[in-house]
Point group: C2
């Protein structure tokens, strides 16, 4: 254990509901850095919980939300790590069983649907709820892939609803900063629009491409001669299908809009190809290359 953070009092109990890659990584990192006094974890799978206890990811584990919330206090932070579409039922359980003014946050990849769900469950937006999204995915998943340094030098987007008390927002922000991440803030709608372009659409394209190749007669050959490019491309197609299914449904509007926009850009290239216009093709490719190189440059700067 490293030294406790001395600028803000550590969270008494970190309560992780849904222990996967992200929840497990927050737990490991927060313990390692002394950001929390103890970790409680809730998951349906007994195997996952056993693994978490064995590896020191959680101090105590539970198979129901009611149990894990027993004895929760105002100094606790509840982190929701369940798939996006399971967040609704989980919020209902929390509303029913949480008595303290503990901070509630989540790590889901879409935000607007969740905020709407919270409004329904509490009849008004609760003052202890601060939605969040760490931009630190991986094609790995499950608590077995948990890594306490996962968030270092990554961005975390918080989407405060406007109804939250300042100290809850601060507590969530401090947790992520303590894990080495940079914390930004924007509305839930804006988050969903930006992420549809930067993360959800690329996943759609990767899944669809690999599905297409899988359906080709020449599948075996296609995979045999898959060059480096395809390997990178297909890495993200190895992501958790159930998690991504949920993201699609939860951010349906923004993703559909981005897919249509993509189709119209693809059409430009098709037209250039049909007309055998090298100039137009090169123009598209050069614009892409320039943007991509600018992006890599920015990534380096952020480090």
């Amino acid at each position: 254990m490293s030294d406790a953070n001395d600028t803000a009092p550590p969270i008494r109990r970190l309560i992780v509901i849904g222990l996967g890659l992200i929840g497990g990584s927050v737990a490991l990192g927060a313990k390692k850095r002394g950001l929390v006094k103890e970790v409680y974890a809730m998951n349906r799978s007994a195997d996952t919980l056993e693994y978490a206890r064995d590896k020191g990811i959680a101090d105590k584990t539970f198979q129901s939300i009611e149990e894990v919330l027993e004895g929760a206090s105002d100094e606790d932070l509840i982190l929701l790590g369940v798939p996006v579409l399971s967040l609704g039922p989980v919020l209902e359980q929390i509303h029913k069983h949480l008595e303290a003014d503990a901070t509630i946050t989540d790590v889901g990849s879409t935000k607007a649907a969740l905020v709407e769900k919270a409004r329904q469950v509490w009849s008004t937006l609760p003052s202890n709820f601060v939605p969040g999204h760490p931009i630190a995915g991986s094609e790995k998943f499950g608590v077995q892939a948990a890594n306490g340094d996962l968030f270092e030098e990554h961005r975390v987007i918080l989407t405060p609803t406007g109804a939250e008390d300042e100290h809850h927002l601060q507590r969530v922000s401090d947790l992520w900063s303590g894990l080495g991440a940079g914390v930004d803030s924007m509305t839930a709608d804006h988050h969903d629009k930006v992420l549809a372009a930067t993360s959800h659409l690329p996943h759609v394209l990767a899944f669809v491409l690999v599905d297409q190749l899988a359906s080709m007669e020449e599948q075996t050959e296609v995979l045999r001669y898959a060059a480096g490019g395809f390997r990178d491309f297909s890495r993200i197609a190895g992501s958790d299908p159930a998690m991504w299914r949920d993201i699609m449904i939860a951010n349906k509007e923004s993703i559909s809009a981005r897919i249509e926009e993509f189709e119209s850009h693809l059409n430009q290239l098709k037209t250039a190809l049909r007309d055998s216009s090298p100039e137009q093709i090169q123009e598209i490719f050069e614009r892409a290359q320039k943007t991509r190189n600018g992006f890599l440059h920015k990534s380096e700067e952020n480090k």
Copy 2:
């Protein structure tokens, strides 16, 4: 210099026309492994040639095809490393200036258009011409990125025309084997069909996606929050625009067919999304994930 290959006599002179990543890597690897006695290189750029001499990539360098072919013998191998659409004019120059029965091969990403061009230039398919394509790309380009081990554990596809003499085919095959690659053989048409799926289409999608993001109002933000997935995805969008423009034009038919097939698969996902059908979405994602994991498994086996 390492020991000469003792199963086959080494090539006397390796003549590289168009000294980029691939041509430079073949030259470096062949010299290092004693597969050739000397390397002659032709390029338009004097800077490239100076670099090649400085780094020991080429023994002698020339700025015209006529000069680099002077004194060529039956024991020489001519490797064409120029962009796909420049291969036609280069073949015409070779036809005009090559007097010996030297072996001719290339490293282009499309094959059928090249074979057709050779037939036009020679009026019949020449017996010393063996088209080839090493499946070992990189988003890097230029002779500065040359690496003598680039082809180790990679596949090289030869597309013999049927008109070639056996010893020319053997010489090309031996060169690639000597560089550590596995050598396969198929028709030019089949090569173009398979590569359209496995390499050309992924590049199209990557270029178009990055071009789309570049045109968004939120461009700066989009790049700021680009997660790991996007980074991998966009790596291939950093490839040489001119080279890929040529590949598009040269393999237009196959690439167009694959783009249309992709659009129809994308439509399936759009429909599932419009109907909010989690089952259909998950089915597509799971099929993709399974294929992708099978591919990774196969890649490991090939090593």
